[in-house]
Amino acid sequence: MRGVIELRDIGFRYDEQEVLRAVDLTLDEGELVLVSGRTGVGKSTLLGVVTGLVPRFSGGVLSGDVLLDGASIVEQPPRERAHLVGYVGQDPLAGFVADTVEEELAYGMEQLGTAPETMRRRVEETLDLLGIADLRARDLRTLSGGQQQRVAIGSVLTTHPRVLVLDEPTSALDPTAAEDVLATITRLVHDLGLTVLLAEHRLERVVPFADRIALVTGDGTVRVDEPRSVLADSPVAPPLVDLGRLARWDPLPLTVRDARREARSLPDLAPPEPAPARESRPVLVARGVTVVHGALVAVREVDLTLSAGHVTVLMGRNGSGKSSLIWALQGTGRRRSGSIDVDGDDPGELAPAERRTHVGLVPQTAADLLYLESVAEECAAADEGAEAPSGTCRGLLDRLAPGIDTDLHPRDLSEGQRLALALAIVLTARPPVLLLDEPTRGLDYAGKAELARIVADLAADGRAVLLATHDVEFAAHVADDVVVLAEGEVVSSGPPRRVLAESPSFAPQVTKVLGPPWLVVEEVAAALEEVRR
């Protein structure tokens, strides 16, 4: 059987650096292929080769050939492939051209010159297919993240492409919205025979749906195989696979269902001890915090206490008020009512310079904090701004992420290194409370493990840490407390073993397999060690 898309001996390089080398990949009809690999190995580049955005939008030199249905398309720019290859980028909002859902769905067809009657019919069909018919007249900017992602997928489906290319479609979504989007994609694969090429960091979400995995290894080559055999020794693997490897299950379970069946063979394990309740001093006490944006109540009478040495994780669906709460706690975000007390001061009433020494905050886009040409300059500016002895920021950075070349431009750093730099700059002012808004965006498993270590370190120094995240696996690793927000109100809070394990959408994979009180693979590893000894 001939593939829909064939990549033949693809190589791609920037001046010095080789990104892809001798890549052969064939996508069959009705197949979902997952592109995985560590951050920065060239996953997006591989997708770009298929869409034609690489090298036209990225620079660099491409060699090799791309065949679609046996015809070479490597010389064609993306616009000439538009009727064959549909592409949805990481941030759907950035790629929207029109302003209402309906017009956005029609845009691609307008460009291709589709007949008006056909356009009308396909728009209606697509609205139904993706379950977004009730959103048809809505302004794209007022949609939630999951809805935007579905509209973006719909807007490329209307041109009936053969191949759909998706770059991290669920990275910004909460677990439930991510499941919705993935279910939609799976339905397209199964019902329409669409070929899907999809890159994703959070493998635990996608692996059950993938037919094959293309693992971009560090040296520029790509290994393509069945998920089971790729995951057996892949450097990136979801917790489920880690569990399977640990318990030496064969074949490796890819779904929670398979793993549950295998789990019966595990020896009796001593359940993990609940962490002893530590005495700790409250550093930040918030009472009845209410934040209102226009007519919308973003945060409604939230009580929250952050204690020294404790890591609190804030969860909740997109738009549930996490960011509003974080900015209000920092003092910049205006609150309607309520009180916040940090060491006897209310950060809302302090000058910005004073605020920084009370509460540190790393915003969602850490790059907003950076503006200088090199890491060294950024560090020096941070020392000066915080009136700290010179070298303070640099020292912090070396602790958080050792071995960063200080001559590098901050934009050339990896996602995780840039986050560490922003963290170091914020920490230079020595705030006792640290707030992190969505720090796990764009981090792979290794990056997240590193971040978890950093967060644990900061807590061990006696800082109170609050971080907002959608990533349940990360939350399970770092949290001492979990607070779940919905519609701006706290719906549950307490230790992760209770809050995460109880919730069907927030339960980590290990909990789903072994049941509470298990949270993370490391606990199972320790218990197994105990048994095997």
């Binding site: 720019p77 616009r79 008006p116 302004d139």
Partner: protein, 363 residues
């Protein structure tokens, strides 16, 4: 009576509004100006769309008010005519010789105040009419209804309109983020802290948008042959030359007259031909284009009628159109018609469909 709810063609709304604005520019009669402003407001209240820009009318109203106040205050501060009824005798601020001709303060006459008020009202009426068009018709749909040959330019404008709110968003975000760290708080350093991240963000967004549009087929070459392309190019080049020569000759009285208006007209005709030729090779279609039916014709007709009648009043009934500041302004029957005719679209057009769906509170 005008059928089911639907959005009126944006060009119809803009023609109507420009007609009203033109009529307003032909008069300083405050009664007539108030009537024109009133009819624009009535139509906006009855037919504005539910989209965000539909709420912009209040801003324009505010701007109009500020304009009137500014005009009057300027008359006060920089003095007016010396003659007339003195309302308030302010002392004049003596100015050095080099500022001769400029007066600061001095006696305030009712005539000066009224002249300022009338002038301000005229500007306010024009601003309000533009505001009315903006809140009645989606400016993006207006740009999208350009002829196919100009489609690329239209899209560029649409994108520019979209980018502005995003730029404001990213500016707000960066300002908040930069307050989280210490550092330069004045001068160039501060500007740099703010500008660098905003510009980086804007650049990245533009690239993402360009990539998005490209992968969706924007700017496909279509099936034009080499010959067709060169024909179009030649036509447009010829038109440009004709228009340039024509304009030059028109402005230079010594040039032969045959090169003036005839040349300009010929250039324009060739330009239209070129655009048609360019449009023919564009294989693009419109999804649910706004139809052009009776309500559109009525609206455009009303706009034109108001403009023409306003012009007529301005020329034939000078006493009505430009009342003196010493007499009570009054309206002739014809002027009254000019003032109220503009309200007709409030009843003669269908209810905009977006007024029904757009009212939802954003999630």
């Amino acid at each position: 009576m005008w059928g089911l709810p639907r959005d009126l063609h944006p060009i119809a709304w803009w023609t109507w509004a420009i007609g009203l604005a033109a009529a307003a520019s032909f008069t300083t009669n405050p009664l007539l100006l108030l009537l024109v402003m009133g009819s624009a407001t009535v139509v906006v209240m009855a037919r504005r769309s539910g989209h965000p820009f539909g709420r912009s009318f209040r801003l324009y109203a505010l701007l109009a008010l500020v304009t009137v106040v500014m005009r009057v205050v300027f008359r006060l501060v920089f003095g007016g005519q010396e003659v007339g009824h003195v309302l308030l005798d302010l002392p004049e601020v003596p100015l050095p010789d080099w500022a001769a001709g400029v007066r600061l303060l001095g006696p305030v006459t009712s005539e000066a105040l009224l002249a300022g008020l009338y002038d301000g009202l005229r500007l306010a009426a024009i601003i309000l009419c533009v505001g009315a068009a903006n809140s009645l018709a989606n400016p993006k749909r207006l740009l999208a209804s350009v002829p196919p040959a100009l489609y690329e330019i239209g899209t560029a404008l649409v994108v520019a309109v979209t980018i502005f709110p995003q730029l404001a968003d990213s500016a707000r975000r960066v300002r908040a983020a930069q307050a989280l760290r210490g550092g330069a708080t004045s001068g160039v350093g501060r500007l740099r802290r703010f500008l660098v991240p905003v510009l980086e963000d804007a650049l990245e967004r533009s690239l993402a948008l360009a990539a998005g549009m490209d992968t969706r087929g924007y700017g496909r070459s279509g099936g034009a042959s080499r010959g067709e392309r060169s024909t179009t190019g030649a036509l447009l080049l010829l038109a440009l030359t004709g228009i340039c020569v024509g304009t030059y000759a028109w402005l230079d009285p010594t040039a032969p007259r045959v090169l003036a208006l005839p040349m300009l007209a010929a250039g324009a005709v060739v330009a239209v031909l070129g655009l048609i030729s360019a449009g023919r090779r564009v294989h693009r279609t419109r999804y649910r284009p706004d139809p052009w039916r009776t309500p559109e014709l009525v609206t455009v007709g009303i706009g034109l009628a108001v403009a023409v009648l306003g012009w007529y009043v301005g020329h034939a009934q000078v006493a009505v159109a430009y009342p003196g500041v010493d007499t009570m302004p009054y309206l002739s029957p014809l002027a009254l018609v000019v003032g109220v005719l503009g309200t007709v679209p409030a009843a003669a057009t269908p209810v905009p469909s977006s007024a029904l769906t757009g009212r939802e509170v954003p999630a």
